[in-house]
Subunit: 327 residues, 2 copies
């Protein structure tokens, strides 16, 4: 009798856990954002419904910094860049007379951020120029294996937002192709995108410079250059989406004014049903609080103003997310 009761109890517990696990987006509280995502997915995948979208047209685009992981204290690629400058400084005495490199090494952000981030781009270029894509890949891997986030005390690639990882998986399980469309570097993101987000290299779009093909004795290489930089931010996002994908997305997630044009391109006048959402950083205890705060690298002012008239949803991190990072 006791044995039977225990078995029944075990079964009930197991069923409850299984049901919970099968519920989509378990790290989300059951608020307007979670409901909007699930309702949209159910609508466009219902073959008998009026809003059905064939799988081939289910393109979802995601900003990275501030949308899929934090962008504080600075975007992680900037922190990587500064660490790389330090690591490689002994081999580059000429860097000592470079104003921006000196500013980076002494932590003088003002110099780096003036003139539309001119200094930051200069630094990013310095650490990529003249090395092969394979060497760059190794440098990025080394950094992720060793560098630690100053506040959260873990490797940077363990700081993806768990609720957003769930959204990516949920969309893919429903026939969507998930793309990252980020101001971050194309080659930088491809090092971790598949492992961290399940996003394959060919679904990553980012800022880039030309690469140059060379056939060396050991085989072909691609040299990274600083030629023809393309900044994949603001209007650059829909422009890249057209060049790389050639279809309009039907889902877009962003978190800053640099994502405004991507959300417009996804949702305004789209003949297919569409969904646009903005991650609003409202949780100072578990992450950061900012939107118009001039000290954060991600500004959310214009896009937040436009949101109501555009029908874009606002994800309130504090209220909507049960957890921020996976344990």
């Amino acid at each position: 009798m006791i044995r039977r009761a225990l078995l029944t109890l075990a079964y009930v517990l197991w069923s409850a856990l299984a049901a919970r696990a099968a519920e989509p987006l378990p790290s989300w509280n059951d608020g307007a954002s979670r409901r909007a995502i699930i309702a949209f997915v159910e609508k466009v995948t219902d073959e008998k419904g009026e809003s059905f979208v064939p799988s081939s047209e289910r393109i979802a685009v995601f900003d990275n910094d501030g949308t899929l992981w934090p962008e504080n204290p600075l975007p992680f690629q900037i922190l990587f860049t500064i660490d790389e400058l330090k690591r490689r400084l002994p081999d580059h005495p000429e860097w000592k007379s470079d104003e921006y490199i000196q500013a980076a090494l002494s932590g003088d952000l003002k110099v780096l951020l003036r003139d539309h981030y001119k200094g930051l781009f200069h630094l990013i270029f310095v650490v990529v120029a003249g090395i092969t894509t394979g060497e760059f890949d190794q440098n990025v891997r080394r950094w992720f294996a060793t560098a630690i986030h100053p506040r959260f005390k873990r490797n940077y690639d363990r700081l993806a937002y768990q609720p957003m990882q769930e959204v990516l998986s949920y969309l893919r399980a429903n026939g969507f192709k998930t793309y990252i469309v980020s101001g971050g570097g194309l080659d930088f993101m491809r090092v971790f995108s598949e492992r961290v987000y399940g996003v394959v290299p060919e679904h990553v779009l980012g800022s880039r410079t030309d690469v140059v093909y060379e056939l060396r004795e050991g085989g072909p290489v691609l040299l990274k250059t600083t030629n023809r930089p393309f900044v994949d931010d603001g209007p650059g996002k829909p422009e890249s989406i057209h060049q790389f994908i050639g279809r309009r997305p039907i889902v877009a997630f962003g978190n800053s004014d640099g994502d405004k044009e991507m959300l417009e391109y996804t949702t305004i006048g789209n003949p297919l049903p569409s969904l646009g959402l903005l991650v609003h950083h409202t949780d100072g205890d578990r992450e950061y609080v900012y939107d118009a705060n001039p000290r954060s690298s991600g500004k959310l002012v214009k896009a937040l103003t436009d949101a109501p008239q555009r029908g874009w949803g606002i994800i309130d991190m504090r209220k909507d997310w049960r957890s921020i990072f996976s344990e």
Copy 2:
């Protein structure tokens, strides 16, 4: 008794036809090229074999002009461009003083081809500049619906090589992603790639210029410009493959020296098994004969010289292909 014999006969016939239909690459004669393709696919898809390649790494790249359809008498995009110039000439009196446009209208190819095709690029730019990607798409559609190939007397989009359409389908049925990597225009090819080749827009790479995002009253548009042209030919092909796909292909099909670097990038020093093949135009009766012939737009000299040492197969159109175009 007779009825039974007829039924048996019908069954035997049906079985033979079904077996034939199930054989891969039915438009190919059973020679070295067909065998190499099938042996490679069976090798990399055999989960228990040493040469197994996971589906995610099965990237196959195809040149378009001369590889998937003819490039004579000129690449089809050039013929489209000249027809567009004629169609739009009444609205552009300023074109009358343009040397290259005059050469195109009077059929003076020498002027267009000198200085590394400077004139051709100029013409291509003229017909794309200042219109939206949507308008360009309509112009290309209109041309395919009306223009007729001077020799084969059919619409240009009905001139795909049937044996290559079969290769594309066969590879996709075996878990490959098939990409077009062409010197032709990105936006030009996307109009027909899915319909003609089964290649979705996001798997098309080609020559391109910047597009510019604009939010108009009717919704977002992308304006085509002539800024920052990228010619997706020669070394530009592996460079584009890195930027757009971020993986090395394991299969490459080309037909001219402009595909040499793409075949190198696919086959030299690749840690995965790889296959490179060149379509050799040897069939003057059914298509064209050329390689070093200076009157053809596709030269095959250097790549043909390199082929034996690189292990690249040569597809002999006359001997290998049972049919050229689908009926």
